[in-house]
Subunit: 473 residues, 2 copies
């Protein structure tokens, strides 16, 4: 294992990604085509993201619930746009308990159709609203071109499903939850682009989809989370009604919002470099690795010292790498590959001088600090690493947005393209065919602004807004 096994990002970013996922022991393909195995180091990153997002969601007053993995096919077929969107991706159970099933079951691709008939039972009057529930679950969407974390047939996620008495309440929550996703990405030191999806890119069954988009280091977009206003589309079908204060029946206004372990893929692609991962401290399974540097004659002394040092740093996730028969240089490469934010190098010289050498992975630089006060130094160092990773990603994102006025301007530039657009679905199809690119979002701040160039960059028709376009994962 080491640097040599990684393709350079500049040579082939997709290959680099595949290499780092394998070499850092994050995940690997399974025996089931399209599904992956997430190894402990990769899963821990997800668990740390999940724990913080769950804390935020619960603090927001949302409660967790668990619905079955199976959805009656007829439920999925009830909402027309929904079934059209998801049918091609379904896994279908036709046998259960040794018998062919009369009513076939889909493995949930998302849980609107699994939940809302039960919601209809739970909701009687306006007193029961808003109803705000969340589920941590696995879902299955058949994937012909799998990519680790970003596109597997099975993935883990959370899906929030809420019901409001009116449209205003529901629409406000859509943006509020997108704000929660912005915060959880900030927790991963990742800036997001937030805004609206186009008609063709919105969630199947939604009235409106908002999205948190992330720019990978090759300039492509990653859809990092979405928050949808479903209107009364599902409420009509599943009978989600309530008795209002006016004594009349009304349809509930529904939202759903989700974030998956794609976020782990986003962390890899937004922060990694040619030497491997660079993990933000908040979600690093190991925040600090200690590498003892010794010869035979001072081995006992150095090992004892580093063991004590490890035991002192209880506030952090610390690993002491005291493996035998491996050189310090090998260990350095290993933990750089794995993206550990901070490495402490301790040899006899450092011990005698009361010092320790600190390597920080975000800048790949070293400095020598005094052992006295090390804990405080580490605390502010981790904060600084987080901040620096965020600022690097933000600077990269900002410097890779290209304003274009026509298709000719795309050339072979890397990044997102800002353009005035007619929002004509046909023009988006053309863009997809010719440039493998679709609209990513209408940035929230552009929604109420006149487009910069009033002519559509594709059709020359009247433009409605300034959108961002990009290739995507």
């Amino acid at each position: 294992m080491g640097k040599s096994k990684l393709t350079k990002q500049s040579e082939n970013f997709a290959d680099w990604y595949q290499d780092i996922v394998r070499e850092a022991e994050l995940a690997e393909p399974s025996e089931v085509r399209g599904c992956g195995i997430v190894r402990p180091y990769g899963l821990k990153i997800w668990e740390l993201i999940k724990a913080e997002l769950n804390r935020m969601i619960e603090a927001d007053g949302v409660e967790n619930v668990y619905f079955p993995i199976f959805v009656p096919l007829e439920n999925l077929q009830a909402e027309k746009a929904h079934v059209e969107g998801f049918s091609p991706e379904l896994a279908i159970v036709t046998y259960g308990g040794g018998e062919e099933l009369v009513n076939k079951l889909a493995v949930r691709p998302t849980s609107e159709a699994a939940m809302y008939r039960t919601y209809a039972k739970w909701i009687q009057s306006y007193n029961d609203l808003p109803l705000r529930l969340n589920q941590w679950a696995n879902v299955v969407r058949w994937e012909k071109r799998p990519r680790a974390f970003l596109r597997w047939s099975e993935f883990l996620w959370q899906e929030g499903h809420t019901v409001f008495a009116d449209e205003a309440g529901a629409r406000a929550e859509v943006w509020h939850m997108l704000g929660v996703y912005k915060k959880i990405y900030e927790y991963m030191a990742i800036p997001i682009f937030s805004g609206l999806k186009s008609e063709s890119e919105k969630f199947a069954g939604a009235v409106m989809t908002t999205t948190a988009e992330i720019m990978a280091k090759d300039g492509k977009a990653i859809q990092g989370a979405t928050s949808h206003y479903l209107g009364t589309n599902f409420a009509k079908v599943f009978g989600v009604e309530y008795l209002g204060a006016d004594g009349q029946k009304h349809l509930g206004h529904q939202n759903s919002w989700g974030l998956s372990w794609r976020s782990v893929g986003a962390v890899i692609m937004a922060h990694g470099d040619d030497n491997g991962l660079r993990l933000p401290p908040n979600i690093a399974p190991i925040q600090i690795v200690i590498v003892p540097i010794y010869k035979d004659e001072n081995k006992a002394k150095v090992l004892e010292f580093t063991e004590n040092l490890k035991n002192k740093l209880t506030a952090y996730r610390v690993k002491l790498d005291n493996r035998e028969n491996l050189t310090p240089g090998f260990k350095f490469n290993h933990w750089e590959l794995k993206g550990v934010p901070v490495r402490l190098e301790v040899g006899e010289k450092e011990i005698d001088k009361g010092e320790v050498t600190i390597f920080r992975r975000d800048l790949n630089t070293k400095e020598v600090v005094k052992l006295a006060g090390l804990e405080d130094a580490l605390a502010s160092l981790l904060v600084d690493i987080h901040k620096n990773l965020y600022e690097q990603a933000l600077a990269f994102s900002k410097s890779h947005i290209h304003r274009i006025e026509s298709l000719d301007d795309i050339k072979d530039q890397v990044g997102f393209f800002e353009a005035s657009w007619s929002e004509d679905p046909e023009s988006e199809k053309l863009l997809k065919e010719k440039f493998m690119m679709v609209s990513r979002l209408l940035p929230q701040e552009n929604e109420s602004q006149a487009p910069k160039n009033k002519k559509c960059f594709i059709t020359g028709q009247a433009a409605k807004h300034d959108w961002l376009f990009a290739k995507s994962y």
Copy 2:
């Protein structure tokens, strides 16, 4: 909602269970026959159990991993006893992504067959052992007679899968992990019976199964967790081999061990009474409920006081029930039904005297305590409630074990039956047919002891050990 909606335990315990699951809003049937919906109050109990068990497992050096929900059918068929045991319970996916699958997939009923071919790749030499991984996941075992938490077609659980270099190491871990399960049940204030399963009751594919059995308040047994020694049965089939220090190839010795949300069912059945749940403080979603008692003229004063009181008790999971238009009596019943360990009743009289009335759910008693020092009083009260629930359950379990020498002794006694047994599988079949009872376990302490009556209570043949028998959920 209230006491009246619960069947009395003494009338029909199974009905009481169904009533309390519904009325306490723990869970309900779903649209998919055999699968349940776990509502927020029920799921939170599971999440609290899960968090503590995960902490214990990780502290034990085990790492979490995630394998796909689908298992190639051919993998499941590779180990003969395994496929025989699980075939009748499988859900089979035959269509994926709009096409009929050439290789059919089972939804995992357990993950031995999903994991071990990959384990074989990960394990090269003895340096890679022991390999100790755990997975939190959903599994599906088709269930024709579902019962909330205890028997649903889909359930959530953890499954540990470990590999050791030799039999001794593996067998030691089997009992070690059973010890971990004993501790997590102690965390739920539940004493367990621990020991070995009989040949016919052991896990399909295992050499040896150990079990944590719990006595419900109707004397029936609940299998609360199991820990298996798989020998080299799966290792042979999936090629789990390692290069020993001797330069030779050896088969790995494997274990698996699991605990599911059946544990929530065990908590309900071991502690509940005719008034509802009685939750141990460790896993109570709400540990303390505050019920303000007021009239129109002192409403503002009482509500402000209880709001402040709630905000002071930050060390606990506290709920202030300030719902309008409900009497204190209604609220008392409601939270008793939901099993909240401690209720604080606060009215103007209490406020003026600097006192609060404390109701404890384990004893259904009240006492008045001074507000000064309330926090300390609550801390020791919660410890005492935990202890008392444990001791009540232990006393119940101990007093409901009946020593029997023949089938005639069973009569209509309620509880577990201790008897000397030949361990003849045919005799167990007879017991099942005539008394709907099987062996639950050979208690660990009886394994090396001669049976009390050397003749089998069923066949009159030579007895091998003293076993415990019971009806079960």
